[in-house]
């Protein structure tokens, strides 16, 4: 009796992880970003995808840069990120088949209520960044080659400022995901560029609020790409296509549009 129960326990230890592997048969892996994950979007749409297509979608949420690298190593079937130039290069280099615009939202600059750089209410992001740099107010950067990081660097460039010279001083590169960087910013009272969705769904806002929003330069486009079986023979072609097709279908687009946090729409579908 005693040995039997131990044997059963050992058996279940071995069999259960294996069973979990087998359950992957009808599933795909999506390399995606922390912003879409932390915003709660996947928690909302994936059960619907499962119900309507029978597909189990497993999301690995990392920065856009890392997601692209992972997909280039064939560790994913679909790439869903937000850095259009990098995505187009991914397709051009043969790793992806075709890139579709999927949805957009926008970036915002959040910061402490005390607003040391006096940027509250500004729409002009270039002007706001210039004020932050001139006043040497703390600014936290993702510093992780993510889509948000790339967007932030582009905005600094647009303002003709190279903040990396002040790295470790007023410009603080966390090298972490959106959520971790927001936690750090709130902790040290630094301004930070965030996608609106991550910020809306963030639970540790402290006295932080949105200071700068509405500039067209803050546009944040998400794209979806299927991994190319010519480069990655192991990729699940049909299942991956099924997911992409669903996302850009009218039904998928409407579902994305219907995702709300506190009544606010966080993603605007724009597949054509």
């Amino acid at each position: 009796m005693h040995t039997l129960s131990i044997r059963k326990i050992l058996l279940s230890l071995v069999v259960l992880p294996l069973a979990a592997n087998l359950a992957m048969a009808e599933s795909i892996i999506v390399q995606s970003t922390t912003s879409t994950k932390n915003s709660g979007l996947y928690d909302y749409i994936l059960p619907i995808v499962q119900k309507e297509t029978g597909l189990t979608v497993n999301v690995v949420a990392v920065g856009t840069g890392q997601a692209i690298k992972n997909a280039e190593r064939c560790d994913g079937d679909v790439l869903l990120v937000h850095a259009k130039a990098s995505e187009e290069k991914f397709v051009k280099d043969g790793f992806g088949i075709e890139r579709f615009d999927l949805m957009y939202n926008d970036f915002v600059i959040v910061g402490p209520s005390s607003d040391p750089a006096k940027v509250n209410g500004m729409k002009d992001v270039t002007g706001a960044l210039t004020k932050i740099a001139n006043s040497k107010a703390l600014f936290a950067s993702r510093g992780d080659d993510s889509g948000t990081h790339k967007a932030e660097l582009r905005l600094w460039k647009g303002a003709n400022i190279d903040p990396t010279g002040a790295s470790g001083q007023w410009y603080r590169e966390t090298g972490s995901g959106m959520g971790a960087t927001l936690n750090t910013s709130v902790g040290m009272g630094a301004y930070v560029l965030s996608d609106r969705a991550s910020w809306a769904n963030f639970g540790n806002k402290g006295d932080f609020k949105i200071h700068v929003e509405g500039d067209s330069a803050l546009f944040n486009q998400y794209g979806v790409i299927r991994v190319n079986p010519a480069k990655c023979p192991s990729t699940k072609v049909q299942a991956g296509q099924k997911f992409v097709d669903w996302l850009i279908s009218e039904r998928g687009q409407n579902t994305i549009a219907s995702y709300r946090v506190n009544g606010d729409q966080l993603f605007y579908p724009n597949a054509n």
């Binding site: 992880p17 359950a23 992972n70 190593r73 936690n183």
Partner: protein
């Protein structure tokens, strides 16, 4: 915040939250299986290193001890590169599965079991070697005798390995991917809730994880005390 966390932990436990139970079960499964494999590999290796004499033995033991400081994130990265579709073991399709997490934890904790058991058995060996040799006790018998004699100390080594496995996040988040309902374990769930700024929930999960570790250790302690008592009757 701390009070909120305890309240939240209590609420999750009382509700017997299905998702929490799933995550908890996977944590226990992955780490228990990793521990089992690590014991099967680590104990004999530790014992052999303790009693054999060969050139480079000191170096081998030093390397083993140094591996105690192996950073989980490095282990995760190495296992990721091995299991990646473009890596040498990519054809197995193990990346982002619980099996990958077991492999990473085995790499991480086998040195712990090996190094600690080596130390324990080496001490015994110093004590009994002359006696065993004068009685011409075969080497395998001697090893088994050492293992049996050192069983209580070895349990501590095993518990140290379990503690390391169940608590690490750096390796499993890379090779598992923290995928909901597939590879999410307690530590990666804590990391996720922290990144969502849900600090009370994150801390609540931490409290639950610590409670589980406490229960495991308490059960082992009780069994050990009982076994010792029986031995002296």
């Amino acid at each position: 915040m701390i009070t909120d966390a305890f309240v939240e932990a209590g609420r999750l436990l009382i509700r017997f939250d299905a998702e929490l139970m799933e995550i908890l079960a996977l944590s226990m499964q992955v780490s228990s299986l990793a521990l089992l494999i690590s014991v099967v590999i680590g104990l004999p290796v530790g014992a052999l290193l303790a009693i054999s004499r060969f050139p480079g033995r000191r170096i081998a033991i030093t390397v083993l001890n140094a591996l105690l400081g192996l950073p989980p994130v490095v282990v995760g990265l190495l296992v990721y590169l091995m299991l990646s579709r473009s890596g040498p073991l990519g054809v197995l399709g193990l990346l982002y599965t619980p099996t990958a997490m077991v492999i990473a934890q085995v790499v991480l904790i086998t040195p712990i079991i090996g190094a600690l058991s080596c130390q324990v058995i080496e001490d015994l060996h110093h004590e009994y070697d002359a006696q065993f040799q004068s009685l011409s006790v075969p080497r395998t018998t001697a090893v088994l005798a050492y293992l049996w004699d050192a069983r209580y100390s070895l349990i501590t080594a095993v518990l140290a390995g379990f503690g390391r496995a169940i608590s690490e996040v750096g390796a499993v988040i890379i090779v598992g991917g923290n995928i909901d309902h597939l590879t999410r374990v307690m530590t990666t769930a804590i990391a996720l809730e922290t990144s969502k700024g849900e600090l009370a929930i994150a801390l609540a999960l931490g409290i639950i994880l610590l409670s589980i570790a406490l229960i495991v250790n308490a059960v082992v302690m009780i069994l050990k005390t009982q076994a010792k008592r029986m031995a002296y009757v």
